[in-house]
Amino acid sequence: MSFTTTIEQTVFRFKDLKDLLAKATPERSGDQLAGIAAEGPVERLAAQMALADLPLKAFLAEEVIPSEDDEVSRLIAERHDSAAFSAISSLTVGELREWLLKPETTHDRLEAVTWGLTPEMVAAVSKIMRLQDMIAVSAKRQVVTRFRNTIGLAGRLSTRNQPNHPTDDSRGIIASAIDGLLMGSGDAVIGVNPATDSVEDYVRIVSLLDELREKLAIPTQTCCLGHVTTAIHAIEQGAPVDLVFQSVAGSEKANRGFGIDLALLKEAHEAGRSLKRGMPGANVMYFETGQGAALSADAHFGVDQQTMEARAYAVAREFDPLLVNTVVGFIGPEYLFNGKQIIRAGIEDHFCGKLLGLPMGVDVCYTNHADADQEDMDTLLTLLCAANVNFVITVPGADDIMLNYQSLSHHDAVYCRETLKRPPAPEFEAWLSQIGLIDCDGALIGEPAALSSYLRSSNLIGA
């Protein structure tokens, strides 16, 4: 079905739903690279106007990628809950924006429509929303998940402590992890991106992190972000796997590029749950996503990168994850050119993920060839805290020496606690106080002896 808008006698025509979505997307380099972006701001506005008038029901009538060719499209269609949709089924995209913003649309009402919304509907409405609109709506939506602690409560901010090391050196990983713990980072997860993907290293890394957590009795969870197949093998060998990680994307072909499909994710989910390491009913999956992933695998089928990203959330929400984060600025300037594009994408991804019911976090980050810097990250972090983001990622001094990009520093977590008044998960906060890292006001006060004696007593598995 084609769409038209007329602005002062000029008729703008959009040939189908995916063309309309792409042309309505705020400017970003990835859609320009794909050759699907609007030619300029006026055509973009014409597309946004046509999109605003589109009934939500149109998204159930036209798929952006046909179900016959794509299991993610099939999943989206199968999981659509028409009872949940009924509250908003008569609305257009423009009216959905207004409904979301109304004070009467409370958390509970947002939660009630979660499975009535499709990724494409959520992506569409975000395209006609300003940052402030998206922040206002996201801030109303809590998504709470649990493993050994409770993540996503209103007014709190969790952090992933990311102690990466270029050669996965055990001592290097532990040094970075402790650096983060000293600044109160690590309640979402202490999670390492491994440099290699061998089962042996995976087992060593999770064992190392588990020993740290166990000996210091930290109410948190640990993770090695290897491939799901590596995790499954490690679980078979009896390794202490808290969270099973995988990168996911918004089409079957893109997921194949990651070496996964829905059946494999289901297997991994079951393997993770079988260990019963968290509290009863704990969420055991951890997913990462990012705009541009499908395009870079030539698996976007002419769909804009932000809609493809929202479709990745349909994959993620199928497996009740503890954590999901977009690695927003990692992919490079050919997808998100500068700080402005990275900031908008981070706010969009968080908004879309939350509306679809995901415990959404953001890796606030950039690479050296993007036109962005630490001040852009300050802006995005502050906006995300206003939006009630579940968690962000922190590394020593904002410099990830394994992945060669800049994420947040552990220091930035301190800024969120002290200036933005965002304490960590309650169980973790109690531990920080118990071990002597924070005072009764939640302020960091020093390095407790427990951490240094751990370091001296541990034989550091594999070191």
């Binding site: 380099s29 320009q32 690279l33 102690p163 990466n164 090391h165 270029p166 050196d169 001592r171 290097g172 990983i173 532990i174 040094a175 970075s176 402790i178 650096d179 000293l182 600044m183 490079g332 300037p333 050919e334 050119f337 690479t367 050296n368 060839h369 810097d373 630490q374 590394v395 020593p396 001094g397 904002a398 410099d399 020496i401 060669n404 800049q406 520093s409 220091h411 930035d412 301190v414 800024y415 002290e418 200036t419 005072d439 302020a443 960091l444 006060i445 020093g446 390095e447 002896a449 951490l451 240094s452 370091l455």
Partner: protein, 277 residues
């Protein structure tokens, strides 16, 4: 009870940091207990004032980022490269990709892989239908510093080794706004059996001058990346030039012997070995 953890007085710049004793600053309270800096090159134990980094650490980070950005956004000094290569007795030919400038280049990787038509003609004319064994392409990639510092010394180390293998090398191709795959149309236009693309790698904060070498047998547009062999992190403090030259020459030797490059090379060499050829 203050919230200030006193860090070292002057956090030295990261680039000057590697284990130079003598100029060590006073360790912070955290280090006296935990000594994390001995365990990793990550920016641990920086100290803090509230949520802020100590001023020295803050400025040192910004300096590293400035260097990395400069490596991305400044142009290779073509004239200086040409002059240095001339001193080494090597001819030079300039080519451009279809990306007009840096701003287009970083947004459009596809254009950085295409050779502009004038350059194609220039190369064909130069080859004169004769062909050669090896085309060496110096591509700016994402780091002009890597090319400025490391490309000429690497070529000087590599050229005699290729000569020992009895292989002919065409003029050195200096390519602007170029991605790795630009070596394919360049190699094809020159009628080369094999291309060696020396490219500035995406700069990190700790090193902005890493050069990568990508070697492809049978260069032609559309070659998959799995058909290349890569030697990366060539720089002072990374893989030394002389070592890199030996590794590249050994790969070239295997490729010429087997007619294969990329992921299939190892198996092809093993097969040759067992068949006793």
């Amino acid at each position: 009870m203050g919230k200030i953890i006193e860090p070292s007085e002057a956090e030295p710049s990261r680039v000057e940091r590697p284990e130079e004793e003598g100029a060590q600053p006073q360790p912070s309270a955290a280090e006296r207990v935990l000594d994390l800096r001995q365990m990793t090159d990550a920016r641990v134990s920086l100290g803090r004032h509230g949520a802020g980094l100590p001023t020295g650490a803050q400025l040192s980070f910004l300096l590293d980022h400035a260097r990395a950005r400069e490596a991305v956004w400044t142009s290779v000094d073509r004239a200086a490269l040409e002059e240095r290569l001339a001193v080494a007795g090597l001819d030079v030919v300039h080519v451009d990709s279809m990306a007009d400038d840096r701003s287009v280049y970083v947004r459009r990787p596809d254009l950085g892989r295409l050779l502009d038509p004038t350059s194609t003609e220039r190369l064909k004319e130069l080859a004169g239908g004769k062909g050669c064994d090896i085309a060496i392409v110096v591509a700016d990639g994402l780091s002009s510093s890597a090319v400025d510092l490391n490309a000429v010394p690497l070529i000087e180390a590599l050229a005699p080794k290729l000569g020992e293998l009895g292989l002919t090398v065409a003029s050195i191709v200096l390519a602007s706004q170029a991605r790795v795959a630009l070596g394919d149309p360049v190699g094809e236009a020159l009628g080369a059996k094999l291309t060696i693309v020396l490219v500035g790698e995406r700069p990190g904060l700790s090193a902005a001058d890493s050069l990568g070498a990508y070697i492809t047998y049978g260069p032609k547009p559309g070659n998959p990346d799995s058909g290349r062999n890569c030697v990366s992190n060539i720089r002072d403090g990374g893989l030394p030039i002389s070592e890199a030259a030996s590794i590249i020459a050994a790969l070239v030797k295997d490729m010429v012997k087997t007619g294969v490059s990329g992921v299939a090379l190892k198996a092809a060499v093993a097969k040759l070995g067992t068949s006793g050829v």
